[in-house]
Symmetry: C2
Subunit: 149 residues, 2 copies
């Protein structure tokens, strides 16, 4: 589609007409509210259901069950049931899940490293939206006022 000059280009052309949909679905799953927290939590040791629930602040029982099942279904974690009374269920990352912690950690690092930049950008943006009130610009620009918050 265009001469390539960076490695990125290769990615793009693949993404545009390849398994793009599949990939995006996986990435959406990773971006789901609790997935990353769970994966990172289990990254260095297996945990039991209620351990995870306690460790992750604010997750409901339902969402934990659902999330764990998704991850198990994708082969990212293994569920082990010890048939004793009372029940004992352990969750741990599979090798596949472990391998995912690498790229995830890089994303987390990136985010942590740019947290202040992101916040500053947001503040600037919100501020400018407010300032747009009566800025004597052309209608093409005034239109863009979202005026929420």
């Amino acid at each position: 589609m265009k001469p390539s000059n960076t490695e990125v280009t290769k990615q793009i052309t693949d993404v545009e007409h390849g398994d793009c949909l599949e990939i995006n679905k996986i990435l959406a799953r990773i971006g789901e509210k609790w997935t990353i927290l769970i994966i990172l939590l289990l990254a260095y040791e297996p945990k039991r259901f209620n351990e995870i629930k306690k460790a992750i602040n604010g997750i409901s029982q339902r969402m934990l069950t659902v999330s764990l099942k998704s991850l198990e279904r994708d082969g990212l974690l293994k569920r082990t049931v010890y048939e004793i009374m009372p029940p004992h269920v352990e969750y741990e990352l599979t090798p596949l899940g472990q391998s995912l912690t690498q790229p995830i950690n890089e994303l987390v690092s990136w985010t942590r490293g740019h947290l202040s930049e992101l916040k500053t950008a947001r503040d600037n943006y919100d501020e400018q939206q407010l300032a747009k009130e009566g800025s004597g610009k052309t209608p093409w620009q005034k239109m863009a006022e979202p005026l929420e918050k």
Copy 2:
């Protein structure tokens, strides 16, 4: 809080009680339906609104607007309005946005590299759920049947 043996451990302890919420929000944004596609699309050259719309198959006008605004608000991309008639608006990644393409591409690579594993895992899982019918196991195991699809 256990003795650490991998780098991951450090990440975790930070995540558990730090800016964990903020980070997760950013990651959720990245996982949103169209964000990655947009970022990757703009990674190697700026594009206009309708160019993006055409390039990304299936996105609605509304969602493109919304997504672009989120990204602009976070300082990941810049919106340039050329005040001519008809209007001409260009979107391009900021340096911050560019820097994000790296970790994202690694995530994309990981996903592409493990696509078949993921699919296999899903198929296995779904198959086993069906097989659970009358498997003479303990009630603790039979309970876990979701029986959907």
